[in-house]
């Protein structure tokens, strides 16, 4: 018999005692462009309002990729599509409705979306919009390092899939989600403004006070925006990036550290196309070449801040030479595709060999032209100690940031959006108040475990590759060999990185 889960019934009477809590931001604080701050046009429709302040079920602060994905996901599910959603974001780029021109070179800000994210988008009906713009699938990946001792090749065929991932510009993802939402009939309003402060009213029932307790919006969160607008919401979602204002206002602390590295990103052109992604770990940090189609690729090159500043300011020819050197020659010999001789211990594993284990080392394509500006970003690891607080929940970079070395960052964020929208739907199905902590805690427990596991692994990689030490180099080379030839391990890694597996080992 299939039974649903029921909440504990307490015959005892709960006293709804509470205090008034106010969170004010410094109005003089100039919060500069975290990626979440983008603006969107306002459609003015009057929704439920008491004393003329509009009320929403969900207020999403931050209209970036992850915030939009949450909105789109809520719009696509029958249980949640009747919810009133407000999106608060002041970035002018979103306001501009000009279409993305196909002839333009790709924007250097791209993301690699995993197959799990692609399924998420397809489920919401948003992937069809992504397909209208440039997007590049890749089905192979090669990873090696500067010592030239070993390499690993991954192929989607190893796990019986067609692709390992897809490289898409961030603005394409964002625009697709916005279009998908607009085509649905969900009740939403976009506020092109910034969040200034937030108040969580809880009236004092015992002392039976004042006017607050009799207002229908008494316990909702009140948001004050920088343009003077005001709104109430049952649930405030912080999707406003790593410097999340919502997180600060809710008083949620974080743990983390800065990496002694910055990343340079840019778009380049090369001689031939390939459906292969490349990553080489150099002494100072990895360089990744991600295919974007039409002979374009995206470069993400991590190095220490001084070098990053130099490489950004050097002229184009020198920069291209540096990139080509980093990808090939200048830093050590090519790894040989030597097979471990004659069976031995690993013969029993080899019976199930992956096709990519037999592929030889391939030299990445030569870069011929720089096709965009070079942008530099500092890198850090950050994890919010709590994802939820009364009526507040964090998703995406507001809750966690990771090193870009495995292209997982935004995929974790999409995973958060997916999980939160499902939890909200479960809440609506049984008539819960969607801002209730017990409901939100379900989201937190699901995502914290998965996010922390991924972050720990990525941080481990970052540290393992930042040391140039003979015996450690050999160990890493052995690891490369091991992963390349031990197929169950390789398949596990591919499944995990594709998002098909939630935790690295015990799924």
């Amino acid at each position: 018999m299939n039974r649903a889960i029921v909440r504990r019934i307490t015959p005892s009477i709960r006293t709804w005692r509470s205090t008034l809590k106010t969170f004010c931001s410094d109005t003089s604080e100039k919060l500069h462009g975290s990626h979440g701050d983008k603006a969107v046009t306002v459609k003015s429709s009057s929704l439920d309002s008491t004393d003329n302040v509009p009320q929403y079920d969900v207020a999403i602060v931050g209209g970036g990729m992850v915030g939009m994905a949450l909105a789109c996901s809520l719009a696509s599910m029958p249980l949640t599509k009747h919810l009133n959603v407000a999106i608060i974001d002041s970035n002018p780029a979103l306001l501009a409705r000009d279409s993305i021109k196909k002839e333009d070179a790709p924007d250097p800000r791209v993301s690699t979306v995993t197959p799990a994210t692609i399924s998420f988008f397809k489920g919401m009906g948003a992937w069809q919009y992504v397909q209208l713009h440039r997007h590049a699938f890749f089905d192979r990946m090669q990873v090696w390092d500067y010592t030239g001792l070993a390499y690993t090749r991954y192929s989607a065929r190893d796990v019986g899939k067609a692709v390992l991932g897809c490289v898409v510009e961030n603005k394409v993802l964002q625009r697709s989600l916005l279009s998908c939402m607009e085509d649905s009939d969900v009740k939403k309003k976009i506020y092109p403004s910034r969040l200034n402060s937030m108040t969580l009213h809880k009236s004092s029932l015992i002392s039976g006070t004042d006017s607050i307790s009799s207002k229908p919006s008494g316990s909702l969160a009140k948001l004050n925006l920088s343009n003077g607008d005001c709104l109430y919401a049952k649930l405030v979602v912080g999707a406003d990036g790593s410097k999340s204002h919502v997180r600060n206002l809710a008083g949620i602390s974080t743990t983390g550290w800065k990496y002694p590295q910055n990343a340079i990103i840019c778009t380049v052109e090369h001689t031939e196309d390939s459906r292969c992604a490349w990553q080489r770990f150099l002494r100072t940090g990895p360089i990744a070449l991600l295919p974007m189609g039409d002979n374009y690729s995206n470069i993400v090159w991590t190095m220490d801040p001084q070098q990053a500043a130099d490489r950004r300011s050097m002229n184009e020819t020198d920069f291209l030479k540096a990139v080509n050197d980093a990808l090939d020659d200048g830093h050590g010999p090519h790894p040989q595709s030597e097979r471990m001789g004659g069976g031995g211990i690993l013969a029993w594993l080899r019976s199930d060999e992956t096709s990519s284990a037999s592929e030889p080392f391939e030299v990445p394509p030569r870069i011929t032209k720089l096709a965009s500006d070079r942008m530099v970003f500092p890198l850090s690891l950050m994890h919010a100690n709590n994802y939820v607080s009364k009526r507040v929940v964090l998703i995406g970079d507001a809750a966690h940031t990771v090193h870009p070395l495995a292209g997982q960052g935004v995929n974790l964020g999409f995973g958060d959006a997916n999980s939160l929208s499902k939890v909200i739907a479960e809440g609506v199905a049984v008539g819960s108040d969607i801002g209730e902590m017990t409901l939100l805690k379900r989201y937190e427990s699901e995502r914290k475990a998965a996010n922390i596991a991924m972050m720990a692994i990525l941080d481990g990689f970052q540290k393992a590759y930042s040391i140039d030490f003979g015996p450690l180099n050999v160990l890493r080379a052995a690891a490369f060999h091991g992963v390349n030839y031990i197929s169950p391990l390789k398949k596990n890694i591919i499944s995990y990185a594709s998002g098909e597996q939630r935790l690295p080992i015990f799924t």
Partner: protein
């Protein structure tokens, strides 16, 4: 033939009148109201009704709940009728369960639903609901429940039958101490819930 109601919609109880007997602070009334029902919550203790009213006023989705400090018997005298009558964790506290069931039945329209939940009068229930819950874990104040006033499922079915309600389904609630979660199960030896329909005349 009653119209089909979509169990997966956000407001499956739209247009139905429910009464939550012994509503306490409104813990059941509020979700039902959010799911579209027109809810009346009654409780014999005035303090409960006051708290329930104040809390329900905080959310526009629940501010329409009608809270009354009264008993099921008095509501019968007012000749109120409801599509569904719910009495969760109440019957073990009333003096005359058979009379109580007759009142619940009188409040239900013909063919309407009745949901009653209570604790089984079994040894396991004594051990868990009284000894553990009241004396060891202090989940409930001591003396909340009297083992002798618990009803067995058979007894409940019988008194409901005498009140013209046919029990259609029964299930139990079990608590998993490892996960801290309650779930619905077939084990009716401690907490159980019964769903019945009022016989059509």
């Amino acid at each position: 033939m009653s119209p089909f109601r979509d169990p997966y919609s956000a407001k499956p109880f739209e247009g139905l009148k429910f009464v939550d007997v012994g509503c306490g602070g409104g813990i059941l009334s509020e979700p039902l109201a959010r799911m579209g029902a027109t809810v009346t919550g009654i409780d014999a203790v005035e303090k409960n009704i006051n708290i329930a009213q104040l809390h329900a006023d905080l959310d526009p989705g629940t501010s329409s709940i009608e809270y009354l400090c009264t008993t099921a018997e008095k509501l019968v005298e007012e000749q109120r009728k409801f599509d569904a009558v719910l009495a969760l964790e109440v019957i073990e506290h009333v003096a005359e369960p058979a009379e109580f069931c007759k009142s619940l039945s009188a409040l239900t329209v013909s063919g309407g639903a009745n949901v009653i939940s209570t604790i089984n009068r079994s040894m396991r229930a004594y051990a868990t609901a009284i000894v553990v819950a009241e004396y060891l874990l202090h989940w409930l104040p001591k003396g909340t429940h009297e083992w002798s006033s618990f009803l067995t499922p058979e007894e409940l079915v019988l008194i409901l039958q005498r009140a013209s309600i046919s029990v259609q389904e029964m299930a139990g609630f079990v608590y998993n101490p490892l996960t801290g979660k309650w779930s619905l199960s077939d084990d009716i030896s401690v907490n159980f819930i019964a769903y019945g329909t009022k016989n059509t005349e």
